[in-house]
Amino acid sequence: MEKKPMVGVGLRPTHYPVLEIESETNIEKSVDWFEAISENYMNTEGRPIKMLLHVRKAYPVALHGVGLSIASHDGVSEVYLKKLKSLIDRVEPIIVSDHFCWSSMGGHYSHDLLPFPFHSEVLDIICKNVETVQDFMGRQLCLENISYYLKSKTDEMPESHFINEVCRRTGCGLLLDLNNVDVNAKNHGFQAFEFIKELNFNNVKQIHLAGPSQEEGFVFDTHSTPVPDSVWKLYQQFTDIKKDVPVIIEWDENIPSFQVLEEEVLKVRHIINNQEAHT
């Protein structure tokens, strides 16, 4: 029998009080693990880092960054890498991840996950940057597919091929965000699961599930709503093929009570249990 995947949630300050109480009362754990946003803990000795270390005592934790800027033409910031490495040494995460994107250039920071051309020149640059990061950290980096609202006219290969190639050349893992695939499929007009099938499943080390919002003329990746049916369906389809990938429920805006997140976790477990019952 395949091992059941860990199911967890993003660690957010809104839920610190609940988690403090939970650890004090030692109630049954409803989630298996947490994912923390790296940058929220890299530059502080305040309550956030204390809470993260507190949570880490009881749970596995992944560090998920938004500022590595792996696709920067400039390369990756040494200052940033040193801070990240120091955090990794303190937290001892089970996964370290960031995004297939760029966010800074020439000393300016966009604080956003910006897309890049799916082009052989960019492929070379990203692979070089990934190798630099992995060498520095002495461990595997995972990169998440992003949602994007425009594309470059110079694209010369499909995104799925680009991702497979980066993983193949560098040994980095893929954090597959099914919500982002769904958002892109709706915005750019392709079949979400057809895209997923083009990916090398052996590279998938983690899954993100989240909910977007509907804006005028497009779907916006806000992580502000429950996971929609279309994303649950993708998860079901994915787990029909590969079951043991750890999952995180992400919720970043209009963050609900911890109980609501626990209900989303239960839905993941329900899908997994149903599949087990049918096999």
Binding site: M105, P117, Y149, S152, G217
Partner: protein
């Protein structure tokens, strides 16, 4: 490695987001039925929203005092002028209180500059390491009278001609509570990071003045001389009384300090 694709894409994309120029629009394809400009504007709006939100988090009391309309207008104006140059979003906005100083709205609310400055310093202190507790420093000094001492790290000496701390403490209440505060009463405050929290305690002016002498390492004698040069003669009794009170605070340590870099300089 060539520079034909990624660098021009990133330069023009960032220039578009920062409102510098629009050539990026000819390099991109849009989604659905939207124009390229509409798609690119999603990123432009996102940039502004994130930085304004970060300013709002750091300067929450300033926002409370100014109200939504003025704060958001000022914050957006600041974002247009000052790009982010740090990966840590919460580090954005160090220049915001200086930016406020030159705005017309500030003429109506003179304490807002000090309030914003206080908030930036509070944020820095919140994220700093705990201040160590130094007990019986003067016992040590008694045995080593030439030893240099200084203010411990993660301590800030705050002074204002307005009741900034009182205003700041009200920031989650109703704005009408400002009417209950005598805004023009000045304050001297010791701000200290201890056990994961920032603690504030009021100081007498003479205590603040003497503690300020220890922003750089000094012997007691050097500090007293410096104090007297600045503020006039002290009697032996008042020196003893002053150091007795300062000693009880436990905020002075023997220099050089080992560990965290001192955070004593007010922005």
């Amino acid at each position: 490695m060539t520079n034909e694709v990624l660098k021009p894409w990133q330069v023009s994309f960032l220039n578009y987001i920062l409102n510098i120029e629009q050539s990026f629009l000819s390099a991109a394809n849009s989604m659905n039925d939207l124009s390229v400009g509409s798609c690119a504007d999603i990123y432009k709006r996102g940039y502004n929203a994130r930085l304004v939100e970060s300013l709002g988090d750091t300067y929450s009391a300033t926002w409370w005092v100014l109200g939504d309309e003025d704060f958001l207008e000022l914050a957006s104006g600041f974002v247009r002028e000052i790009p982010s140059i740090n990966y840590d979003l919460s580090d954005y906005g160090e220049e915001f209180f200086d930016f406020l100083k030159d705005r017309p709205v500030i003429a109506e609310i003179p304490f807002v500059y000090d309030l914003a400055r206080f908030e930036w310093n509070f944020k820095s202190l919140f994220h700093s390491q705990d201040s160590p507790v130094e007990e019986n420093i003067f016992g040590f000094i008694g045995a080593n009278p030439d030893a240099k001492i200084r203010l411990l790290p993660s301590i800030i000496l705050w002074q204002s001609n307005f009741a900034i701390y009182k205003i700041w403490k009200q920031r989650e209440g109703d704005i009408t509570s400002l009417n209950e505060i005598d805004l023009d009463i000045g304050e001297s405050i010791l701000c200290r990071k201890l056990a994961g929290k920032v603690h504030m305690s009021y100081l007498e002016e003479s205590e603040l003045r003497m503690l300020n002498q220890f922003l750089i390492p000094r012997s007691i004698e050097e500090a007293v001389i410096s104090y007297q040069n600045l503020f006039g003669e002290l009697t032996p009794e008042s020196i003893q009384s002053l150091f007795s009170r300062i000693g009880a605070l436990g905020v002075l340590g023997v220099a050089p300090l080992i560990g965290a870099a001192p955070l004593n300089s007010l922005k």
